[in-house]
Amino acid sequence: MTVTLGKYALPVLGSYAATIVLLGVLVAVTLWRGAQVRRALAAVEARAGDE
């Protein structure tokens, strides 16, 4: 199955690319900050456990 986008290839592919980039950044930031906070919390909880 091939798709012929014709003269509209740029806007269509551009939209998909832009959406993927924007949502990708959102997901990446979410996961990255999640991991960061989780690591920091684990470190602090380990310290708290030692005392």
Binding site: G6, K7, S15, A18, R38, L41
Partner: protein, 242 residues
């Protein structure tokens, strides 16, 4: 068993841990099926040509951009009335997601408008309202970031969300009054006459489901992060006191 049990952060964390893998899978499935179906297996529209494919991103993103604000309104109200922290944190978690969806709707709309309307941007009521919605999201996020005390920040942003909602609706109608539109009517509504034809409708529903699931997944993930960040701050505070 009532929904209020999830006001307990522990219960929320436990349940979301169990639900999240399923949600992630469902999100991927819906988005993949919807986008691939829409992109490869639908015909060109007789007037719009291939650009009709942008609808599968534009419409769901726009819908969720508005629904995200509604969700923030509801959770803000719950926080103000019942003081459940998870609720306030969920509102905080949802704002950047809503902001991104608004941006997606604006960007894909501009890319579609260029060949179809011959312009990237027109001061059309719908477009203008979305730009204003974007500004509301920015202000809301900036207020969260600016206030150090977490409970005060939750209170103030909730009040802003309530007032902002009223003014967002007002702006929508004011903008309608101000300029006649270029944008077509709703693509999906219950009265069948206006609807887009079935060929486009089925993958579109799939994509909408995918965006809804994506929103829920991201908000859950971000809320979990906020809860952890809260606990982290509390523990650090205790260490400093000790």
């Amino acid at each position: 068993m009532s929904i209020w049990e999830y006001a307990n952060p522990k219960r929320f964390m436990d349940t979301s841990t169990r639900v999240l893998p399923v949600l992630v899978l469902a999100t991927f499935a819906c988005l993949l099926v919807g986008v691939i179906w829409g992109f490869f297996f639908t015909p060109d529209d007789y007037r719009q040509g291939a650009t009709v494919r942008i609808i599968y991103l534009h419409v769901p993103a726009a819908m969720m951009a508005i629904n995200a604000w509604v969700m923030m309104l509801v959770t803000s109200l719950i926080w103000l009335v019942r003081r459940h922290h998870v609720s306030a944190l969920a509102a905080k978690a949802a704002a950047p997601v809503g902001l991104t969806f608004t941006l997606v709707a604006l960007v894909t709309g501009a890319l579609w408008g260029q060949p179809m309307w011959g312009t990237w941007w027109a001061w059309d009521p719908r477009l203008t309202s979305f730009l204003i919605l974007f500004l509301f999201y920015l202000g809301y996020i900036a207020l969260w970031a600016a206030i150090e005390d977490r409970d005060a920040a939750a209170d103030l942003t909730s009040v802003l969300c309530l007032v902002g909602s009223v003014f967002a609706v007002l702006s929508r109608y004011a903008v309608n009054f101000w300029n006649q539109g270029l944008h077509q009517g709703a693509s999906l509504s219950l009265d069948a006459e206006e609807n887009v034809s079935d060929v486009f409708w089925q993958p579109l529903v799939m994509c909408i489901a995918g965006f809804v699931l994506l929103f829920i997944t991201l908000v859950l993930l971000r809320t979990r992060t906020e809860i952890r960040a809260r606990r982290l701050a509390a523990l650090l505070m205790r260490e400093r006191m000790a």
